[in-house]
Amino acid sequence: MRKRLIPCIFLKNGLLIRSEEFKTHQIIGNALSEVSRYNDWAVDEIIYIDISTEEKYDLRRDDMKVKDDFKTKYDLVREISKVCFVPLGFGGGIRTIDDIKNILNNGADKVVLNTILFLDDTFLPEAAGIFGNQALVACVDYREDNFVYHTHGAVNSQIKVLDWCLYLEKRGIGEIILNNINKDGMATGYDIKLIKEVVDKTNVPIVALSGAGDYYDFVDCFEEANPSAVAAGNIFHFKEHSYWHAKKLCLKENIDMRKD
């Protein structure tokens, strides 16, 4: 299978944001008006993470017709999937089996789980039995102390990253996103050492997130840690034709990727 390069899009109350260490959240756009742009980029896959702490979706665009119908995250998924013809992942605030069902029925292919995995130990096997493990992705947020955090990075689970990943694998997760909170928005390169360790010791596809500052960070991460995919957020928002340039560089450096 080809290696993947994935734009990871963070949303808060319906707006696109740029995040730094999970603290600073700078609004950079409107979720809906950006969607078709991502599709035009010919991305391999898109992941949306909704980090809203309340159920409120105000696009701050009263001129957009869809506003009135836009009340829940499911509406958001439905609108996104209308123009997204690559695999679509969606996460944030998922707490029930019905949440997963609604997100998948509105057009997503995968859901991204995090906090619920700490709150309810039976959730993952139950969900895997219903939806299959290919639909379930875990986002593992951790800090430099090597502990996994949940609830928007606020609660230390006291579980080490590798232990948690091995546990999730055993319980039926389909894919794991590794996200170093201290590298979020810092553009200092991926956390290669830990990504490599998890890639080497697990058998599920690993997606590296957080830290991309320039396109060579993608190449370095693939070459040194060999994850199934690398994902990034900010870098794709602030540079012109960034996805295209990033892909071009990876291909030039012989990373086995979809050319399109």
């Binding site: 299978m1 123009v83 013809f85 690559v86 695999p87 596809p205 399109d260």
Partner: protein
Amino acid sequence: MRKVLGGKMITVVNLGISNLSSVLNALKYLGLDFCVSSQKEDISKSSHIILPGVGTFGEGMSQLKQKGLVDVLKDEVLNKKKPIIGICLGMQLLFETSEETVGINGLGLLAGNVIRLPKSDKYTIPRIGWAESVFTKDFLGFNKKDTADFYYIHSFYCDPVNKNITSIIDEEGKIACAVQENNVFGCQFHPEKSHKAGLRLLTQFSQERL
């Protein structure tokens, strides 16, 4: 749902077990006329049939039987020569049997069986992701020897009796990724999730003549 009387109309067969929204979004985006149905009458009236599906072979067949669609599909496809395309599980249902659900017969529109994917260094099982795929024949607007990347999610694959019906094969030359025999088409990958190459196949399918 738009309907065009007297014109071309695609029926997307609704097995009721899987999520159709991606396929429907693609057809809407392409501006094609379609209806979603599990009624015999709609299948008879339509010009083209899409059989999508995610789930097990046994579940898929049991839904087709419960809805009374097995005979109408055979008649429309074999006698009236309507173009049909099976996607993912839908492709597998076109064949005779599957190792996934032993003892259940498929539609049998194509001769061959569905078998478990062999282990390989190239993928894990389920085989998920983008894979380079090689056209071994002209197929829905693509030419022999073309290559394209398509998006796959599967644990079983089709093994046609007549190897000449294989139109797209994986990079190792083992897995039949798409087949065509006359008006019967199947693709193991998801064209609706395979970006431009996939949408191009769907467009071309809609233009296949009776």
